[in-house]
Amino acid sequence: MSEPRAIRPAEVSAFSKSEMMIVAAARELAGRRVCFVGVGLPNIAVNLARLTCAPTLELVYESGAFGAKPARLPLSIGDPTIVTGATAVVSMFELFSFYLQGGLVDVGFLGAAQIDRFGNINSTVIGDYEHPKTRLPGSGGACEIAINARQVFVIMRQSKRSFVDRIDFRTSPGNLGGAEASARIRREQGWLGRGPSVVVTDLGIYHFDDSGEMRLDSIHPGATLEQVRDTIGWEPHLAEPLSTTPAPTPEELRLIRERLDPEGSYTK
């Protein structure tokens, strides 16, 4: 681990949209106990939370490491640094059966290529399934995280192509066609997950209202409502009053830049 640089005043206010997104997602984890960690942005956000607002957060890596204390930010979720010094390393059978489907995961973190207003997620294909325009990675563990994790946090950048009226493929169920249907189906089928609870983007923070639809609750400093509307495929519900997300603190920025992503792979 390198030594902290001194923070100069100019750096405090200068932060990227990606940094704001990661910081906002990390803060949502305050008070949570067990978080299921996937690859990419969730990986940074969760590790930032552990170093700031959620010091007792237990990380369950999709690869099977539990109680990991990574000495560096792993590129992949299957890095040797998440194993050395973990409290437990388990097979994927055990991870998916007992930890995830068994209901021990408080928060599952998902990214996505497309999301709709009800938090349903596509990470499989753009276009037709049989003849895709773009073949995406597919579910991995996402579909079972969406069903079994007690709550789901989504972290993704907004654009007209990603925040769409109708997703091309439903990989991971959100609030389905709305809150009422979702609650009924989840109850009747014995799902332990209550579905998506927050979507953090590069422009703001959404929670879900009583209808099960995304509602913009907080807008990031520097972002505008016009930008929000330009990057979303439906007319977004807005909270009244709409909050402004507190800017990243110097300490949050320092941790991201010096410790978690020194090469700027995720935050440029």
Binding site: V39, S63, G64, V89, M92, C143
Partner: protein
């Protein structure tokens, strides 16, 4: 009875054209050495099963060994897509590639059913998703207790499963530590098993810690000793993941030409893993060594006479 053999002989004897092949390992212990030997021996029409096809199957698909993938997550973790596979899926370039798609737990369940001789494995995934429409082998099943329905996936029984591990004895009793993925299930599900290890050890080393054994020699057909055989994947305690190569592959695989040139140089152009390592160079190999030791400590089983 010793099952120790060379990678060349193991692949020649145990992998046949048209086989269902699983080279498993969730980021950890992915046996690239076996994949490269399968490419060199120009095996064809394989069905390749893996949760995460990773670079190894991108390479094997680019080399024309495969007609079909069975998988759950198709990407280069933390980097991006698998371009050789995408070319075949999106553009049928140079030929179509059949996909059979599950989720991670679905794949783990398929191996588990295969290993357990069960006709299906039940799980709570897939509800209210488009996956059962995309794959008709994901089917609902009603619980005989109460009203609940869950989904079921069918058994997956590879013709050959390849497992990389830290160590085994000559009979194939295999021990590994670090991330275990679903190698155990994939091995028990398979008709034939090839174990590839960093170290061949005496039976007494295995017997000293029987709880550490993941795969029994009983189900192993061949033991191949191939140090560094998992590179650019890694082996806990032995060498690090070569993240630079994972990043480099993104550029290499973007064009068919550069992909083939890489295969020519690094797969067809070498006779086996020893030559590959020599080509990689001592400095690169040394840079992947862990920065220190983290010993597990020893426990006592006790002598009972």
């Amino acid at each position: 009875m010793s099952k120790v053999t060379s990678m060349r002989d193991a692949v020649a004897a145990l992998v046949h054209d048209g086989d269902v092949v699983a080279i498993e390992g969730f980021t950890h212990l992915i046996c690239f050495a076996a994949g490269h030997e399968i490419i060199r021996q120009r095996k064809r029409e394989l069905t390749l099963a893996r949760l995460t096809p990773d670079l190894i199957y991108d390479q094997m698909v680019a080399a024309g060994t495969a007609r079909k993938l069975v998988f759950s997550w198709l990407g280069n973790p933390g980097v991006g897509g698998l371009h050789a596979i995408r070319r075949r899926v999106e553009d049928a370039d140079p030929a179509p590639l059949e996909l059979e798609e599950y989720s991670h737990f679905g794949m783990v369940g398929r191996y588990t059913a295969g290993a357990s001789n069960l006709p299906f494995f039940p799980l709570r995934s897939y509800f209210e998703t488009d996956l059962p429409k995309a794959n008709p082998l994901i089917r609902p099943i009603r619980s005989p207790f109460g009203e609940e329905t869950v989904y079921a996936v069918p058994p997956l029984k590879p013709d050959v499963t390849v497992v990389h591990a830290q160590r085994a004895d000559a009979e194939g009793n295999t021990q590994m530590w670090g991330l275990l993925g679903c190698q155990k299930e994939a091995a028990f599900a398979a008709e034939r098993v090839i174990v590839v290890v960093e170290d061949l050890v005496d039976e007494s080393v295995i017997r000293a810690d029987p709880n550490r054994t993941v795969i029994p020699g009983l189900i192993v057909n061949a033991v191949v000793v191939e140090p560094f055989g998992a590179h650019p994947s890694y082996v806990q305690g032995a060498y690090d993941r070569d993240n630079h190569f994972y990043r480099d592959w993104d550029a290499i695989a973007r064009e068919a030409g550069t992909t083939q040139a890489w295969l020519d140089e690094w797969v067809y152009g070498v006779s086996g893993r020893a030559e590959y390592m020599a080509k990689l160079g001592a400095e690169r190999v040394a840079s992947l060594k862990p920065s220190g030791e983290a010993p597990s400590g020893s426990v006592d089983y006790g002598v009972y006479k």
